[in-house]
């Protein structure tokens, strides 16, 4: 996946106001099976960046290519994990997971076994018949993860997926993502404001400037797989975290 000189200018909400430039000249690449995190101060256009890749919005400058081809309309090749759980409340956990393949007319015999396997992989075995309202916040995000992975996406896009969870649940979810990544090896673009999360999960971290968002720094995370949450305690981790935080703080306080 590749972004070249991507920019996004929003038309003004009210007459008389200036147009809002959210992104400027963003170059970003994610190799196959690579996990890339994008961090930046709030309001820097991280989510806009993700919406462009997902196809929910169109860039006003530059090009985006996925798998070497220009971007089409939103589709299951770029599955999104939203910050809000965005589950279909009237369907059971299993029906949420199979929602995509079922309505795309895929064979039941093909997607049902995959759904069962994914539900097990995200630790929701025994919850297949429950409704989303019966699940905790962390469990809902796990349903979203399974609902995205069942499409075998070229790229998995995560928009602050654990931002709304408490610290304990977030740590558990990060562990789960590390485990799932070890099994399914997705290509993953993760947008987050959580520096620790970015280092823990990704192979490379992009740091963005404040609005209009530009890439100001790219950093390679050297830790080998399989990783675990224990990394957070290491001196190397602390050094990485410090340099990223410093780079972010420059942005918050001009």
């Amino acid at each position: 996946m590749e972004l070249r000189g991507v920019g996004k200018v929003f038309p003004p909400l009210h007459r008389g106001q200036a147009p809002v430039s959210a992104l400027e000249d963003v170059d970003l690449a994610v190799a196959e099976r690579e996990i890339v995190a994008v961090i930046g101060p709030s309001g820097c256009g991280k989510t806009t960046l993700l919406n462009l890749v997902a196809g929910f919005e169109r860039p006003t400058a530059g090009t985006i290519r996925v798998g070497g081809r220009p971007l089409g309309p939103p589709g299951p090749d770029r599955s999104v994990i939203f910050q809000s759980p965005a589950l279909f409340g009237w369907l059971t956990v299993e029906d949420n997971v199979v929602f995509g393949p079922r309505h795309r007319g895929e064979a039941r015999g093909d997607f049902l076994p995959r759904a069962r396997e994914l539900i097990r992989a995200v630790g929701l075995e025994g919850w297949e018949g429950h409704s989303p309202y019966q699940l905790s916040g962390g469990m809902r995000q796990r349903v979203q993860l399974a609902r995205a992975l069942i499409n075998r996406p070229r790229v998995l896009l995560m928009d602050e997926p654990f931002g709304a969870l408490d610290a304990m649940t977030r740590a558990r979810m990060q562990e789960l993502v590390l485990r799932v990544v070890g099994v399914y090896h997705p290509t993953l673009l993760l947008v987050t404001h959580d520096v620790e999360e970015a280092i823990l999960l990704s192979h490379r971290v992009y740091v963005m400037t404040k609005r209009p968002g530009r890439i100001k720094l790219t950093l390679t995370v050297p830790f080998a797989a399989p990783r675990s949450v224990d990394l957070v305690g290491s001196a190397e981790f602390a050094a990485l975290k410090y340099s990223l935080l410093k780079s972010l703080l420059e942005e918050e306080m001009p």
């Binding site: 997902a54 939103p74 809000s84 279909f88 009237w90 309505h103 499409n151």
Partner: protein
């Protein structure tokens, strides 16, 4: 408060009213032609059951009121739900139609009864048409508000999973708006029942509203009361049915 006490208090109110009613009539505090006693009402009810009212069995009056209500309501829902969904989903359609609905909403539907009679006469059509219109307003407004309240992420999730616009409409928008659609259905049902009675008061040959009006003209006060009580009981039943429907359709809300 214990649940048992709650029920006890509520039943106490009903028993108290019945007792008071019995007392004022038995003691002769009000004249029987003003307020008949519970006993008189009971025996008159048996007479109505046996002989009917105005050469028509009591059941016919009940059924003609219900038939008008359900025809008008059914048509209102059949047109109103899809129309409301489209209005909620399309800014263009909303911009075109919302002035009509916004203007009509605050007007009590019974204000149109004389006009309906003028245009369509006193037959079935004018009553059913009025109920249809009233049901339509409430269902359209609720359904379109329901669609506009759907979180953007939910629609994007469906789009992201590869559903076509038609599939999103049927499998996501309809269900996500259903709680508010049901609010509209409940209101529309209650309003429809109120309108049928009002319309029958003014012009009808059968129906509970007709019975109440006709009995008043002839000073048949017990029949007036019986008519009102039946109207009330049917209203309660309709409310119970719509509420049960809501519970069974929306159990996934976890309320």
């Amino acid at each position: 408060m214990k649940p048992g006490h709650y029920t006890l208090l509520s039943f106490g109110t009903i028993a108290g009213i019945l007792l008071l009613w019995y007392a004022v009539t038995a003691l002769g505090l009000v004249k029987p032609f003003v307020l008949p006693s519970p006993g008189d009402l009971g025996s008159e009810f048996l007479v109505l059951m046996a002989k009917g009212y105005a050469q028509k069995p009591l059941s016919e009056h009940v059924l003609s009121s219900l038939a008008r209500t359900f025809t008008g309501l059914g048509l209102g829902l059949a047109v109103g739900i899809p129309l409301g969904l489209v209005m909620g989903a399309s800014r263009t359609v909303f911009a075109i139609l919302s002035p009509i609905f916004s203007f009509m909403r605050p007007i009590p539907p019974i204000a149109f009864i004389p006009l309906m009679i003028l245009y369509f006469g006193i037959g079935e059509f004018s009553k059913v048409f009025l109920i249809f219109l009233a049901a339509l307003w409430y269902v359209v407004l609720n359904a379109s508000a329901g669609v506009r309240a759907i979180p953007q992420d939910l629609l994007r999730a469906a789009q992201n999973l590869g559903l076509t616009q038609a599939q999103i409409f049927r499998h996501v928008i309809f269900w996500a708006a259903l709680p508010q659609i049901m609010t509209g259905v409940k209101t529309a049902t209650a309003i429809s029942w109120a309108i049928v009675v009002a319309a029958e008061l003014i012009a009808a040959q059968a129906g509970l509203g007709f019975m109440v009006m006709d009995a008043t003209t002839f000073f048949r006060v017990p029949d007036v009361y019986i008519g009102i009580i039946i109207i009330g009981l049917i209203g309660l039943t309709l409310e119970g049915i719509t509420r049960a429907l809501e519970v069974s359709l929306l159990h996934w809300q976890g309320r």
